[in-house]
Amino acid sequence: MKLMVLIPAFNEENTIVTVIEETKKHLPEADILVINDGSTDNTKKILMQSSGIKVIHLPFNMGIGGAIWTGFNFFCEEGYDFLVRIDGDGQHQPSETRRLLEPIVKGEAVLVIGSRFIEREGYLSSFYRRAGVKLLNILSRLILKKGITDSTSGFRAYNRDAIYLLSKDYPFDYPEPIEIYMLNKKGFKIKEISIKMEERKGGVSSISLMKSYYYLIKVLLTILVNFLYGGNDESLSSDPHSNH
């Protein structure tokens, strides 16, 4: 079983080392891949000095989608079996990755999402954000006919079937809700487990308040376009590699 932990990082000089060390502690068997998404602070320098991890430096800021997509492609090239995504800002607790991975390893789901909202513990984000998250959730419930309580959470575990499918035509902007949509469309099983999230300890959210409206519109547009397009989207068809 080859396990990869994917940590996207954009200007996370204050938190990245802690996240890496915590991850090493809780998942010692995993290969850690950090994607430096064109950081403009000392993140690159810090990463170059850390040992025992793999680092990919993107030549320019590609956004969270581009960083994740790069990690997914690396995952496919190197033939890993499972992937855990942890954000580099310290919001996600590496101590909870085991629980996140469990249903994946057992084959109960191809994607497990760590949700803040099942037991409503820890950091729940600001009012405006929660309103946006809520709207997205209502929509995903309507469209996916599935109760995902935290469709924007980036704390996730995947198996290779999910990664192979998603990496083929990955949504570049704000990919989290669209991942759910893509996998659900192929009939893959998605599971949510309750986790606690910390308020970010450093850096700036990739989504400011103004941008979150753009986020919402963009995600709605993507979901609606896919929804109207129906279930025969060839670009989303699964990769032949995923069958063996």
Binding site: K54, I56, L58, F60, W69, T70, F74
Partner: protein, 119 residues
């Protein structure tokens, strides 16, 4: 009797249309524009040339569309052409962005796999 007497504006229109077409062709020859991106421009200037030479065309188009005020047809064609061009650019830009991202990702992964140089 010719119902469309030649007016200065018609002559100017014809000259300008030909001039613009000539500029596009020159740019293609000098490799400043790739043919695939110039096709739409060439087609549009051909339409302009036709419209400026055969003024009756506008009347035919207007009556076919039910437009009372003929100049409106010209604006309609002009705005339609610009819309098409801009849409075309959006498609080209999106395609290029996709390719740039793929390129950046490929390079970044390759770079990560190359063992560091010993100094």
């Amino acid at each position: 009797m010719n119902p469309y007497p030649v007016t200065p504006i018609q002559i100017i229109s014809i000259i300008v249309s030909f001039l613009l077409l000539a500029i596009i062709i020159l740019l293609i020859r000098r490799k400043k524009i790739r043919e695939e991106y110039a096709i739409l421009w060439v087609i549009i200037f051909f339409v302009f040339i036709l419209l400026s030479i055969f003024r009756g065309l506008i009347d035919i188009i207007s009556s076919f569309l039910g437009i009372q005020y003929q100049p409106a047809s010209i604006f309609l064609i002009l705005i339609g052409s610009l819309f098409l061009l801009m849409l075309h650019f959006s498609i080209v830009i999106s395609d290029m962005k996709k390719k740039i991202n793929t390129l950046a990702m490929t390079i970044a992964i390759l770079e990560a796999k190359v063992p560091p140089k010993k100094k």
